[in-house]
């Protein structure tokens, strides 16, 4: 299996379990059961994105972006370090689909990720502005904090739209 050309994923791609903050384009390609947790600071026009794979960390903290319950507080903390104030943050969730209808193991991981993120955001009092979640189709997400926090989504079936 050859490595694919990096140019195919323009901008900086946030891999599984990673996170990134800033005001330039942040993207995450091929979201399946994973969920992109996006925070946008409407005052500073900056943002952050975490590529969350699982709902619960069960005490692990080596990769805060990997789990819903650690990603939310960590991403908020990272944004606060860059000058954001919690009251200016809004959240967006993208992903969490079930790719295989027949998949037996770890039932419905996509929906569990979504539920865990909602709960965690609720706890931190961050409102969810909009979501594009669940379903059976993969998605790529492109987030432009500088451009009023625009979020573009490209779905596996070819549909492109703005969240």
């Amino acid at each position: 299996m050859e490595k694919q050309d990096k140019a195919s994923s323009k901008g900086s791609n946030v891999g599984i379990g990673e996170y990134q903050t800033g005001n330039l384009q942040i993207s995450s390609i091929g979201l399946g059961s994973c969920v992109a947790l996006i925070l946008y600071d409407r005052k500073l026009k900056t943002g952050g994105l975490a590529h969350v794979m699982l709902p619960e960390s069960n005490g692990k903290n080596d990769r805060p972006g990997k789990f819903a319950d650690t990603a939310v507080p960590h991403l908020i903390h990272e944004m606060e370090k860059c000058g954001s104030s919690r009251k200016d943050l809004t959240a967006y969730l993208v992903g969490g689909s079930s790719m295989f209808e027949q998949f037996k193991g770890n039932l419905d991981i996509g929906n569990r990720n979504i539920a865990a993120l909602r709960e965690s955001l609720n706890k931190m009092k961050i409102p969810i502005e909009s979501e594009d979640i669940a379903g059976t189709s993969g998605r790529s997400v492109f987030f432009f904090p500088k451009d009023e926090g625009r979020i573009n989504i490209r779905r596996a079936d070819g549909k492109c739209y703005e969240l």
Partner: protein, 209 residues
């Protein structure tokens, strides 16, 4: 997870035996020659998976490995969309390539995957002297990365690096590219390494590999 050279060699040899059986069965189904690359064993951080499986739409056929050790891991047959259409065309004797994958294609690809992966696991299990059987196939036609996320959510809960076995199978005549991938759980990998080690260091007699 660190693997030494000997362990890598053993795993590659195991992959070689499994993949060559899969290649033979594919070659029989397509009634043409199938070339196979040297099996690769990569240790990959989960954040880097997108460099191997990107946004391109693919047919991804997934099998859970069942048998003695459970859960053992997954075997995946990955075919990029254009190759998947040509694979199906070859099976049905049709020629239209400029189209989407339909239900007939989906069942053809699932069945080809099913036959190949059965051979792959049979040969691997026989070498190791254990029972490994594929679960019924699960198919997704989607971004390859998105499909792999579901599997990673299973095998990479406690670990951040996975061992990816991959072998490319190509049919030049029909312009078909595909990859057979095995993603074992960490425990399974250790068990496999132990069995392989016993194979090359037997008390009596020579190795089989």
């Amino acid at each position: 997870m660190e693997l030494n050279d000997l362990q890598l060699d053993m795993l590659k040899e195991m992959g070689n035996i499994g993949a060559s059986h899969a290649a033979t069965s594919l070659s029989q189904m397509l009634m043409s020659e199938v070339d196979m690359t040297v099996p690769k064993v990569d240790v990959i951080d989960i954040s880097q998976i997108s460099e191997y499986f990107g946004e391109d739409i693919s047919a991804v056929v997934v099998f859970e490995i069942q048998g003695e050790v459970q859960p053992a891991g997954y075997v995946v047959y990955h075919v990029p969309k254009s190759s998947a259409i040509r694979l199906s065309n070859t099976m049905f004797g049709t020629t239209d390539e400029d189209r989407e994958l339909n239900e007939l294609d989906e069942s053809a690809i699932t069945e080809v995957g099913n036959i190949m992966i059965s051979h792959f696991l049979d040969a691997t299990a026989e070498l190791l002297g254990i029972v490994m059987l594929p679960s019924p196939p699960m198919l997704a036609i989607d971004m390859a990365h998105a499909a792999f996320e579901n599997i990673l959510a299973q095998v990479a809960v406690d670990i951040n690096e996975i061992i990816l076995f991959s072998t490319e199978l190509k049919s030049k005549n029909n312009d078909i590219e595909s990859t057979v991938i095995m993603l074992p759980y960490d425990d399974t990998l250790h068990h496999i390494l132990e069995l392989l080690n016993n194979l090359i260091n037997p008390d009596i007699g020579g190795g089989t590999a």
